[in-house]
Symmetry: C2
Subunit: 205 residues, 2 copies
């Protein structure tokens, strides 16, 4: 990520999110003006960003959505594949293992960890389930960068500690409890309650 | 929501999110200065907002986190309980039905809908599973406000159409496909891919 500002990466992620939607809606082309309307970022900034990623839109035609999306993902990932370790193979964990969009997007679930012995040794959607004590070793071997917490709230801190010890640098936390980790580890909490409250308030207007 | 600006509600949601974390970290008191540091909103604005909700902090002591959180939730919900209908009782849907934090927060899952006949008629965590064709009737009877899509991407638009016909005003969409709905219906897409990409980029810095 050297020489690229944090803000540029954040904008690139917004463009990717927008392009994903346009592609799903079968839009093959998009102008910087359309992107500006959807994202709230100025079209001048958008053209500047995109040309810095090596793409130029054609006047009156715009950008090819799929091509631009691919370029942007290449830019934010810098040709990396994101290796992800999952903790907890209950209903949520199993849903994440079966999530169909990961493989297309250079995101690879490399291992799953679980306490329940009846699940250990199984493969779900090609991903092996290991006992949680093996996490440090397996995470090193599989070069996992990020981890997902899908265990009950009562076990989330214990699992977070193992993730930190194993060298993971980022954690997506689905457990409805906040976790303490060193500052060098980034946590993204996904809180269904807040999402629903926010949606409710917006739908009342 | 009358007489309350959209921005005030948005800030209230940010305060709630922050307070939830503080409470989980066993913080009983918080000052407007601390809230300002965490949220990036000025402490003057925070004190003004909170006093408009009828709470005043005590000088040098601050606000009681649990009490303030309760007041704020009362404010954004206006004494409503949010009634939610779930579509899709696979692994993700089951995880949502078992999500423990909803009941405490005036969010009530009132019904689940599914195509698979082997699941219909069951109760999961107290919520009855109905055939999807019954959605319009059951949604009216249970006064559901919001719906959650937890079906495969290939069925998400079909389900979204039923939700719109049933009168739901907001949709949380977990399917990795975007849905088309009238402008009066608000959609919140939860995209695991984008969350992981964003976390990866941030953890590289």
């Amino acid at each position: 990520m050297k020489n690229i500002s944090r803000r540029t990466v954040d904008r690139a992620l917004i463009y990717i999110r927008t392009l994903e939607h346009l592609i799903k809606e079968k839009r093959y082309l998009v102008s910087s003006k359309d992107l500006a309307l959807i994202t709230g970022i100025s079209d001048v900034q958008i053209r500047k960003d995109i040309s810095s990623f090596g793409k130029v839109g054609r006047p009156r035609i715009g950008y090819k959505t799929a091509e631009l999306n691919k370029t942007l993902k290449g830019f934010v990932l810098q040709e990396n594949v994101v290796h992800v370790a999952l903790f907890g193979v209950g209903h949520l964990g199993t849903a994440i293992l079966r999530y169909p969009a990961f493989n297309e997007d250079n995101i690879k679930l490399v291992a799953a960890f679980e306490k329940d012995k009846s699940k250990i040794g199984k493969k779900i959607n090609g991903v092996r389930v290991y006992p949680v004590e093996m996490a440090p070793k397996i995470i090193k071997r599989t070069h996992a960068d990020l981890g997902i917490i899908a265990v009950p709230a009562s076990h989330s801190q214990e699992v977070a500690d193992i993730m930190v010890l194993s060298g993971l640098r980022g954690i997506v936390n689905f457990a409805p409890a906040s976790i303490s980790v060193p500052k060098s580890v980034i946590v993204k909490d996904i809180d269904f309650t807040i999402e629903l409250l926010s949606l409710f308030c917006n739908s009342q207007r």
